[in-house]
């Protein structure tokens, strides 16, 4: 009998303790949660919607051959330090120099994941690790990527890299791992907090203004207006992938 009583008492004390603990924890966290909600345009609990389609417009006439600002920003943002092995080091964004063999005309532009509406990498991925978010951003789920590299075979833009070595010093926002495939994420965690991708930000901070980010579905967005007025081309449009990244001056 005394046993039951004492266990009841323990139970009561435990409940009380848990109650107090929960209340104080709640008090402690509340301001943080509130602040977080204020700072964030799209609450984390709200699902990504296909009402928006994120895209980029790149004006190659404003992109100069020697400039590497977008590439540097990407490397800094995602901690993409190489091992000085250019053939196996990852590249999420790179600069292309395109010369017309006939006329000698030279164009400069950044090349990265084009965030296709019909991405071949997503089609071929056996496990579904390659996927497209409802808002058009194409990503790799690094938890279920088995490292088969079929997506790299399928991508027409050479946008993806295989992690050939152990990764240390990862950025919290860009988890990566040896033996899996990775690519431009359009800085999805920044986009979800109403910020611009790092490359676009760097390009505009340096006042080049060659890169514009925005919602292709919103006719009032800057990117849509500019596309409506001046048009924009897709690279390898013949493949019918409907890319989220568009180019002017090519």
């Amino acid at each position: 009998m005394s046993n039951t009583e004492s266990s009841k008492n323990t139970e009561l004390t435990r409940r009380k303790f848990l109650g107090t603990a929960a209340a104080s924890a709640g008090l402690a966290i509340a301001p943080g949660v509130l602040l977080f909600r204020v700072a964030q345009a799209k609450p984390a609990a709200q699902a990504v919607t296909s009402k928006v389609r994120w895209g980029m417009l790149i004006d190659s006439t404003k992109c100069s051959t020697g400039c590497n600002d977008c590439v540097t920003a990407c490397k800094t943002e995602h901690h993409l330090e190489g091992h000085n092995r250019p053939e196996t080091d990852v590249q999420w964004i790179r600069k292309l120099k395109v010369t017309d063999k006939q006329t000698g005309h030279v164009m400069s532009l950044p090349m990265m994941c084009q965030h296709c509406e019909n991405p071949p990498c997503v089609d071929v991925c056996p496990t579904g690790a390659s996927f497209k978010r409802a808002d058009g951003i194409v990503l790799v789920d690094r938890h279920i990527c088995i490292g088969c590299r079929y997506c790299m075979m399928a991508c027409p833009y050479k946008a993806r890299s295989f992690e050939h070595e152990e990764v240390d010093d990862q950025a919290v926002s860009a988890p990566r791992g040896k033996g899996t495939v990775e690519a431009c994420t359009m800085c999805v965690y920044r986009v979800d907090r109403d910020k611009q991708p790092a490359c676009v930000e760097a390009c505009s901070e340096a006042e080049h203004g060659a890169m514009l980010f925005g919602d292709l579905n919103d006719p009032e967005s800057e990117i849509s207006k500019r596309l409506a007025e001046y048009g924009g081309k897709q690279i390898r449009a013949d493949l019918g992938l409907n890319t989220g990244v568009r180019y002017q001056g090519i």
Binding site: H83, R85, P86, E87, T88, D89, V90, Q91, R94, K95, L96, K97, V98, T99, D100, K101, Q102, M111, P120, V122, D123, V124, C125, P126, T127, G128, I144, C145, I146, G147, C148, R149, Y150, M152, M153, A154, C155, P156, Y157, K158, S161, F162, E163, H164, E165, E166, K178, G179, T180, V181, I235, R236, L239, I250
Partner: protein, 401 residues
């Protein structure tokens, strides 16, 4: 015609044990190579972000293609009712399974994360031809397993023709899937063609039978069992037909590509100025892998020599490996065309012919896959009744006197 009497091999001779030991060394080396590659990451291999599929894929795809082809002999007996092939049907099924085991082993151990195989087996993206292939491979084991079972258990013999028919349809589908891994790649000029699937099927006939013939010769020579001229000549002549058929598809594949202006660049690369790939194509695949074997198999006097038929089969296997190398590595070495007609340069090797040199661990992994296939056969014929005691002419040919 006598009824074939299937008997296990004794498998206790020094030669047999030496064979197992020899194959075992290659398998150990393959496992060691895997550990080395997975521990350090793929940068220790010849593979890069440009050549993402390397030597392991050359071996793996070759073995998987050959696997379905090795089943042909069984199909000819069960589906097309050629009784002369019936005594060979069990070995044909066994070799098919063994080659698939070897090929898949190489494929899986080259993954970036082979430890995640369970994910590949449980999460399927049904738009992916790769995911279909995993289902096709697993189904192949099941169906061919049942097929062999119906052949071995007397009271199930009446189901052999149904199982054989299912296996035949399945193997055609499987190789269609393997060819389509490349055929469905619209981004690369070297692939992107519906002909890949039928071409892979005819290649499978040729590679599978070449391996079958060598395994058969080895098994019967080393165990001292009689292998008559009737069955040998039939197989040898059939092999010639398959080699010619595969060559025909190669010609059509390249002619079609040459005709398309947009694909002329990659054709010039493979056929004329691609360095190692051009050499492997003309010398490895066409001359040594097709034309010389055809001469050896059909020449009025050479065609009578078993030794030369064996040489022809070995050359066909080497030619097949060369063909796989040209398709898989050559197809990636040629740069992606982002801006047709323009010259593209970058820090990521755009617009350049990509460099690849296979590393030793990759080669050892591939050879280990072949050794795994062979050791599977060697062990299975010791424990189960796969091989007829005799394939002498009077056993095989109902009209032989």
């Amino acid at each position: 015609m006598k009824k074939a009497n299937f008997v296990e091999i004794e498998g206790r001779s020094a030669g047999y044990l030496a064979l197992l030991g020899f194959l075992g060394i290659f398998i150990l080396a393959a496992l060691g190579s895997t550990l080395y590659m997975e521990h350090n990451g793929h940068h220790v291999t010849g593979m890069t972000n440009q050549i993402v599929w390397g030597m392991p894929h050359v071996f793996a795809v070759f073995l998987i293609v050959a696997a379905s082809g090795a089943l042909n002999i069984a199909s000819i007996s069960s589906v097309f009712h050629k009784t002369a092939y019936k005594p060979l049907a069990r070995l044909s099924g066994l070799l098919a399974l063994a080659l698939l085991v070897g090929g898949l082993m190489v494929l899986v151990l080259d993954l970036g994360r082979p430890d995640r195989l369970i994910i590949a087996m449980t999460k399927y993206n049904f738009r992916s031809i790769f995911a279909w292939n995993m289902i096709l491979y697993n189904g192949f084991f099941l169906i061919v397993g049942i097929y062999i079972w119906t052949m071995m258990q007397r009271n199930l013999n009446k189901y052999t023709k149904y199982a054989g028919f299912a296996a035949f349809i399945w193997r055609l589908t499987l190789t269609t899937g393997t060819g389509s891994i490349f055929g469905f790649l619209v981004a690369r000029e070297a692939y992107d063609s519906a002909i890949m699937a039928p071409m892979f099927i005819v290649m499978s006939f040729s590679f599978g039978l070449a391996i079958f013939l060598l395994v058969l010769m080895a098994a019967y020579n080393w165990t001292g069992r009689p292998l008559g001229d009737v069955i040998f000549t039939t197989l040898k002549n059939l092999l010639g037909v398959f080699v010619a058929g595969a060559l025909y598809f190669v010609i059509v594949q390249h002619l079609t590509n040459i005709y398309a202006a947009g694909h002329i660049g990659v054709e010039e690369f493979i056929l004329l100025n691609g360095g190692i790939y051009t050499k492997l194509f003309w010398i490895g695949q066409v001359l040594l892998g097709s034309l010389i074997p055809l001469a050896l198999l059909y020449h009025p006097t050479w065609g009578k020599s078993r030794r030369l038929a064996g040489v022809a089969a070995a050359l066909i296997i080497m030619g097949g490996m060369a063909q796989m190398y040209v398709i898989i590595i050559g197809g990636q070495a040629y740069p992606l065309e982002l801006f047709p007609g323009m010259q593209v340069q970058s820090s990521f090797f755009d617009g350049m012919v990509n460099h690849y040199a296979p590393s030793l661990p990759e080669i050892m992994l591939g050879l280990g896959g072949m050794a795994t296939a062979m050791i599977t056969v060697a062990l299975a014929i010791k424990v189960l009744r796969f091989l007829p005691e005799s394939l002498a002419d009077e056993v095989v040919d109902p009209h032989h006197h």
